[in-house]
Amino acid sequence: MIRFIAWRVGGMLPIALLVTLVSFLLLELVPGDPARVVAGDLATPEQIEETRAKLGLDQNVVVRYLTYLGDILSGSFGESISLQPGRGAMELILDALPVTLSLTVVSLVIAVIVAVPLGVAAALRRGTWVDQVLTGFTSVSMALPPFVTGPLLVTVLAVAYSLFPAVGYQPLSEGFAVWMSYLFLPALAISFNSIAEIGRQIRGSLIDVMDQSYIRTANAKGLSATRVVGKHALKNAAIPAVTVLGLQVTRVIGGTVVVEIIFAMPGIGALAVNSVFAGDFPVVQALVLFSAFAVLGTNLIVDLTYGYFDPRLRKG
């Protein structure tokens, strides 16, 4: 297992390196003078020169990239220049992380809670009206991006009926119920797409698994239907579903951007939008790095769960 992990991590190194290059080039390829861009419109020529020296822009591009890479390796991701001047870009991200993490986790939990029974029901009643209704539901829910569901949910549930607080965020330390009351609507808004994808995947793979002979054996042994599906079939059907769940993380990270703005939550997505509007490039760069590494980390975890579900894959 350790060799499997090491092999996986090793395979990700070139990708991680390229990601740092992308985030480096982001500032490098800005049209015009990056020092002027970073220093802001009101900067005097002296301030621009000062910024240039501070950013190391008076040096050769390769030297600059290597310096940037060295900084990242030593845990330094640059300083915010306009949002909260002087604070580390990574500090801002870590401040916003709990919000986005809560949102992601709650939305994926909602997605799994809704999608798994849905997929199982559709698979076991394949071809009947139950299947058709559920498949129709997933098709529609696939077409509902967070920025459509978000405003609609706010309009209907928060503004019209005041069932939930319309906007804002309270940390978990304020109590679970309070935390959840603020999280539920935005998380639900993000989860529609994931419900559709996970539900379809569970349905498809469970249909395949149920046709296999070990399921016939389990049935023949006289196991109850719940045990056959729950213990034998679902574990194998879960493998492709875990992949889809992993892919959802990328999608959800994208979805949180819009949803955090709609619901006025101080998360990473809102930070990304604000830093773009404020021209805070070091924060933008750090965000690109951070989100890419979050995705790579998720992929790694997904790979490792394969190993858990199916020991044959551990060999690598």
Binding site: P14, I15, L18, V19, V22, L26, L27, L29, V30, P31, S139, V140, M142, A143, L144, P145, P146, F147, V148, P151, L152, V154, T155, V159, A160, T250, I253, G254, V257, V258, I261, I262, A272, V273, S275, V276, F277, G279, F281, V284, Q285, L287, V288, S291, A292, V295, L296, N299
Partner: protein, 296 residues
Amino acid sequence: MTATIEAQRAPEAPLPGGRRRSRTARMLLAERRTRVVLAVLIALVLVALIGPLLTPYGTNEQDLLGRLQPPSSEHWLGTDSFGRDILTLVFAGTRLSLFAGCLAVATAVLLGVPAGLLAGYRGGAFGVVSNTVSDTLLSLPPLILALAIVGAYGGGVVPAMLAVGVTLAPRFYRVSRGVAQSVSKNSFIESARSIGCTTGRILGRHVFPNVVAPILVQFSFSFGLAIIAEASLSFLGLGAEPPAVSLGTMARDAFTHIREAAFPIFPPCILIALIVFLFSSLGDGLRDAVVSGGRR
């Protein structure tokens, strides 16, 4: 000698290609659902193109005394916070959304398909490098990258959609590479190579026709994603810039005034959901046709 051979082949040569194309089209359109969805999509494109001519209002014709009106016989879908006719805006917004989708997906196809074909056919060092690049792009969340690029290069639909196109390219790369890899093992590829066809000709004439159908499937799914990305960016105020109108900017405007009037949020949101639904159903239909087409 060669002249006579060419003279004999020339009149027949166009047939196989043409027949193959119509056979692919027939296979893809075999399902009724696919044909219905395609017809609705074509109608939608036509409406988006000629719609503005049908309404008596201009896209930026403001009536500040008649802001946020409910639907009436004069304004079928009411007016927005500037008193603009929402129906007219819906036409203009749909046009921009479709244009944005085309731009992003065209970028993705142009980047992904040639690289994928070459990587699948040749493999080797080129394959390793392009795989790494594709995996890197897949690890960058599209919206975050698009935000960063718009932040660096300024707003507007074009840079934003080029950025989205880059993040969609790995999907086309993977599809083309997979097909090219399996097709390259066939003996007709070996024969083409043995009579001295260049790599470009082999890929263009012999490998590419095999990826058309799976690429069309991917095209449908990616189009929906691109439209969502454009609408999201415009909603955040980083996509379409006034006076351009997109479904995203309409939703933004409606959401800002949601406590004054709830209705204007519905037309743009429903239309985006409809467009995305149509493209994903088209993709489903085409995918089923491709999967079953081989067996029939």
